[in-house]
């Protein structure tokens, strides 16, 4: 497969997964905003949402105050925000267009229809924020579904999935970090009603609150949620699960190509480290520090995949 095609597939998956994550973040934001603040003080959910999306600086360049309307506009439609849902969807479409010969018509039609529909919605502005979030998540599911039901299981499939899981690990770490670090700085609120509600919201946004109850039973507690999203091997968004998938698709590629790459080594180290980690140790170390480290390692993995398979070589 052409290196450029591999890169396009990888990026298309990353962008698509990012639209999904942004929609979920917005969902966290508007659900939390519905909750009265205990202190009666100013709620800062939207700042947290922007911080988690890595968009705080870009937002501050345009707006003074983080409000629901402006945040939603910035994260969904804004042309200047490279990670807005609209821009991500367009980038996903451009990448798939460039890799048109490596994807099925079902996959192309899924992304093309989503994009054209979003342009239409952008003009009409007839959907509420919850509807837009739902719609975005559904589009990402449709594309994912089209991909897994129609694509040939060749190296293109592996590159596409690599993009998905590298992006997803990044997003899970960021989402969890919002709750842990940004959202609730005062220690006296820990364990309170708002705290519990926020954990629940986080799980809901990941479509995982029922799964959580099945897996852990009983009450929501920070260490259980952290375990669920970091170390649970059966949670499809946990860092461990993502690391396992990345490891698997890289192995698959290097097996077919007959040569191990630096990305393989790094990914299996990551997988092993997460596989043997313990949640109490992570909590003791500090979850925020741990997550920051994870995001850095994920970025390094991304670079190694590029170097191993000649992305962007000229």
């Amino acid at each position: 497969m052409l290196s450029r095609t591999a890169e396009s597939l990888y990026w298309a998956a990353r962008y698509m997964e990012r639209t999904d994550a942004t929609a979920r973040l917005l969902e966290v934001g508007y659900r939390m905003a519905m909750m009265p603040t205990a202190s009666g003080g100013h709620a800062n959910e939207w700042e947290s949402v922007l911080a988690a999306a890595g968009a705080a600086q870009g937002y501050a360049n345009q707006f003074d105050e983080a409000t629901k309307v402006d945040t939603a506009e910035f994260l969904i439609f804004d042309e200047a925000n490279a990670s807005s849902i609209r821009n991500c969807l367009r980038s996903a479409r451009n990448n798939l267009r460039a890799a048109r010969t490596a994807i099925t018509s079902e996959v192309w039609e899924a992304v093309n229809e989503s994009y054209l529909r979003l342009l239409d919605m952008e003009q009409k502005r007839n959907l509420s924020l919850p509807e837009l979030c739902d719609w975005t998540k559904r589009q990402s599911a449709v594309l994912r579904g089209a991909f897994s039901t129609t694509q040939l299981r060749s190296d293109g499939y592996d590159f596409f999935n690599l993009g998905y899981y590298v992006e997803r690990a990044d997003n899970t770490a960021r989402l969890l970090d919002v709750k842990y670090y940004v959202l609730l700085p005062t220690i006296d609120m820990v364990g309170g009603e708002i705290d519990r509600f926020q954990w629940l919201t986080l799980l809901r946004a990941l479509s995982a609150h029922r799964a959580f109850h099945w897996a852990y039973g009983g009450d929501i507690s920070p260490d259980k949620v952290a375990h669920f999203l970091i170390l649970n091997p059966s949670s499809p968004r946990s860092l461990l699960f993502c690391a396992e998938q990345v490891d698997r698709y890289l192995k698959h590629l290097s097996l077919a190509n007959g040569a191990r790459t630096p990305a393989d080594d790094f990914a299996s180290d990551m997988f092993e480290a997460l596989g043997t980690a313990r949640i109490d140790e992570i909590m003791a170390q500090g979850v925020h520090d741990f997550l920051t480290e994870c995001i850095k390692r994920n970025a390094r993995l991304h670079r190694l995949i590029g170097e191993s398979y000649l992305f962007g070589a000229v």
Binding site: M1, L2, S3, R4, T5, A6, N94, R97, A98, R100, T101, S105, W108, E109, N112, E113, L116, D155, F159, L253, N257, Y309, L310, A313, V314
Partner: protein
């Protein structure tokens, strides 16, 4: 239906008030659909086109907006007997054009014999001196030739122009058929339409059959595109997909030693045949335009030494130049010893003083084109132009006569087309795609372009023209 019988133009559907045999079944079958149903079908077709991403960009429009080509559901029909004659004519022309190209890059016999003026060839902007002495596989320079034809009477076909470089539009021919088969299965059931879906296979075989001498083992062919923002990108990806070939950009290819390779996730892979959809000037920045970012540095060296085949060959454009066009019948006689089956449109060449005088005096009746123009840009249709337009154009011609040719306004045939008020005659042309490799192949069909505006003779998509499916049916169907 009286409006369908304008006497001046050949009507492909009606002979006076009588339906021509080719259209008998189709009219009957279409009559079964109510106007509402047809409107619904039309909307359905457009949705499919847009969803598939079959759009084209119009250069010069804001953001190169993606647009749909208007698709007309009424097919344009040929009887098999009519088609066979056309087919022979097209293949004959394709052979002669390739013989001409080989000749002008070697001894130039046709020029020595005085049949074509030397300056017309050797001073032509499309003539490529770096090709002199190079002999491509099977002596073929132009592997895909699109020949634009118009009809003026029952057996009367004229060639408007030849396209020897990289004619586009074949994806529309194939997709139009797909859409028609999806929407009107009963039509095909009844009419016994000859299939065209073997075109991608025929194209692949053509490309593989011209693998270079130095290629050992199974040849690897690729399509070279300028990228996803090119107006014809959809077609490039469509053909690559249909043929199972890689679609590469210049940056995916590189030259190492005697060969050209593509960068893959498994390391370099040798490329033997390049079906390029970029212009000569951009192919190799070391040999042609040094600013080209879409080409492959060093490619021409590999080509010269027989390490790779480029389709079509650089410099193939000298055969489809609008001035050289006038000599194609002469080429057919000279190289093949045959009489041309298809006619040329009489052409006045403005670089000749007599012709220039005539053209300037009769601008209101003529069609004037730029010698190197294409896509319907920069032409004058005398009968449709205003007095002021004619005057401005006349001044352009006087400033540089050699850059223009003129032809009489042809009575282009009309084919029935769905417009708002129902079926109405609209002018059409036809571009069949002739493949030249080990064999000369022409699939029974082509791209019919239709001028959607009443009375208009300009069918180019960039000027608002539409497309139709083109059928060849058995005479007794």
């Amino acid at each position: 239906m009286s409006s369908m019988n304008k006497p001046a133009f050949f009507n492909e559907m009606y002979d006076g008030d009588v339906l021509r045999p080719a259209y008998e079944h189709i009219v009957e079958l279409f009559a079964k659909y109510s106007p509402d149903e047809l409107a619904l079908k039309k909307a359905e077709a457009e949705t499919i086109f847009r969803r598939l991403g079959i759009t084209f960009a119009v250069y010069g429009e804001e953001n190169n907006a993606e647009r749909l080509i208007p698709f007309d559901m009424m097919p344009r029909v040929f009887l098999e007997s009519e088609w066979r004659r056309l087919e022979r004519g097209v293949k004959q022309r394709a052979r002669a054009l390739n013989a001409f190209l080989w000749d002008v890059y070697h001894r130039g016999e046709i020029i020595r014999s005085g049949r074509i003026p030397a300056e017309l060839v050797y001073c032509n902007a499309a003539y490529e001196p770096s090709m002199v002495g190079i002999t491509p596989s099977r002596k073929i320079y132009s592997h895909i030739i699109g020949i634009d034809l118009v009809r003026t009477g029952l057996g009367e076909f004229y060639v408007l122009e030849d396209n020897c470089r990289t004619p586009s539009g074949v994806s529309y021919m194939l997709e139009n058929r797909e859409i028609m088969m999806r929407m009107f299965p009963d039509l095909f059931h009844r009419a016994r339409v000859e299939p065209i879906d073997n075109y991608p296979d025929a194209l692949r075989r053509t490309l593989l059959s011209v693998a270079p001498v130095k290629c050992d083992g199974a040849p690897c062919a690729v399509i070279l595109t300028p990228g996803a923002f090119n107006s014809a990108y959809y077609e490039h990806s469509f053909l690559a997909d249909q043929m199972g070939l890689e679609l590469v950009e210049g940056s995916d290819l590189f030259v190492d030693g005697d060969y050209c390779y593509m960068r893959t996730t498994r390391g370099p892979k040798r490329v033997d045949v390049i079906y390029r959809r970029i212009d000569d000037a951009f192919l190799d920045p070391l040999c042609f335009n040094p600013d080209s970012l879409v080409g492959v540095p060093g490619l021409m060296n590999v080509y010269r030494s027989g390490g790779v085949q480029i389709c079509s060959a650089p410099g193939a454009g000298v055969a489809d130049d609008k001035a050289v066009y006038t000599y194609v019948p002469e080429m057919i006689r000279f190289y093949l010893g045959e009489e041309p089956i298809l006619k040329n449109v009489p052409t006045w060449m403005c670089h000749k003083q007599d012709d220039l005088t005539y053209v300037l005096e009769n601008l209101k009746d003529l069609v004037v084109k730029e010698v190197h123009g294409s896509g319907g840009y920069g032409m004058l249709v005398g009968p449709a132009a205003t007095k002021a337009e004619i005057e401005t154009y006349g001044a352009r011609i006087k400033a540089d006569p050699a850059a223009f040719i003129a032809q009489p306004t042809l009575a282009l045939s009309t084919s029935p087309t769905f417009v708002e008020s129902g079926l109405a005659p609209r002018h059409v042309d036809l571009r069949p795609y002739c493949l030249v490799g080990e064999k000369v192949t022409l699939v029974p069909g082509g791209l019919t372009r239709v001028a959607m505006r009443e009375g208009s003779l300009v069918v180019n998509s960039s000027q608002g023209g539409g497309v139709k499916d083109t059928w060849v049916i058995a005479d007794d169907a």
